[in-house]
Symmetry: C2
Subunit: 224 residues, 2 copies
Amino acid sequence: MTAETTGTYTPTDRTTPTRLRERVSYDREAVHAVLDEAVLCHVAFVADGLPVVLPQLHVRVGESLYLHGSTGARAMRGSRDDGLDVCVTVTLLDGLVLARSAFHHSANYRCVVAHGRAHLVTDPAEKDEALRHLVDAIVPGRSDHVRGPDRRELAATALLRLDLEEVSYKHRAGPPGDDAEDLDLPWWAGVLPVRGAVPDAPVPAPDLAPGIAVPDHVRGWRRG
Amino acid sequence: MTAETTGTYTPTDRTTPTRLRERVSYDREAVHAVLDEAVLCHVAFVADGLPVVLPQLHVRVGESLYLHGSTGARAMRGSRDDGLDVCVTVTLLDGLVLARSAFHHSANYRCVVAHGRAHLVTDPAEKDEALRHLVDAIVPGRSDHVRGPDRRELAATALLRLDLEEVSYKHRAGPPGDDAEDLDLPWWAGVLPVRGAVPDAPVPAPDLAPGIAVPDHVRGWRRG
């Protein structure tokens, strides 16, 4: 949490691409923006020598990424001792890139990949604070409109922390890159922008007590 | 491609959850619907004993899943011989579940996890057909409005195929599950539905020849 929030992450072998290097950067602000905009991430780990990847909710607090979700009892047990090697990837799809040639079809996106060893959060105070941040990451302002976790609930919540050290940011933006000899083909080319996590009208719980209006933090929710 | 499209996948140890079993099924139709609605998937593999997960475009053709995207030269080399052990996960976020208690906050989602060994597609005819399906999976009808790949482009395209055998479907839907003693708290509870991949107005390529209108397959694009 005291780490710098500007500057760049230091590239490593794993975060240095072998192709399309121009799409990669290590800029902390770009990484933070993607992590903060996305509602969920995909967390990969190795179980019995084989890969597993599962979606989880996450929140970034400074240079720590907290992960919340079921990784299975086995993975959580593994993380209890020395930690669990993970790769956390967050992808935001920004557009469909439609070229004249099938070959140059692509997607516009922003993607963060973070490698490292995640550790189970055991300190109740850290867990309590991280969970508050998590609720506010998903719905800003929400943590002031809920009953906070009691001791039993805190104990029942498994949270992993990954410190952001080996991280890369990859993105594609802009129009299709057709070959010069294809530019006169009669096909439409361009980008169809898409947005993720677009809210519809809130649906009150069937057992909501009468007289409770949809609060501003729900009504005004938006991403990106 | 001749495999059945109804019925269920056979559960295995890996696809049997240790908790929240009621959220899991093996229904082929539910799996297919998620794979077909999502624009991208997350593909995990093991490199030097450590997990890596990257986003890729995909298309399902019958009971085969074709993956298209950079997995890095190393992973692709591995897949050239005996194949590459992968876990492919597709997650569609459907809503934010806002409970009276922080503890019962959750997300509504549909998620498919497929395990298996992916193989590099080497047969040019299979690759050609799969790429056509891929273009049409991303934008239905598009493959009739592009220049198809030539031999050089086909050779330059790396495509992995994963046969769908060890697959599970997990989802959450519906209102928050607050504890009975929290129902009278003064906090709003309910679901904020969200939709992914919502299109904005198409952006023509800057070098688009004059007089080419946005075609129906672009103007009418939608998911879910």
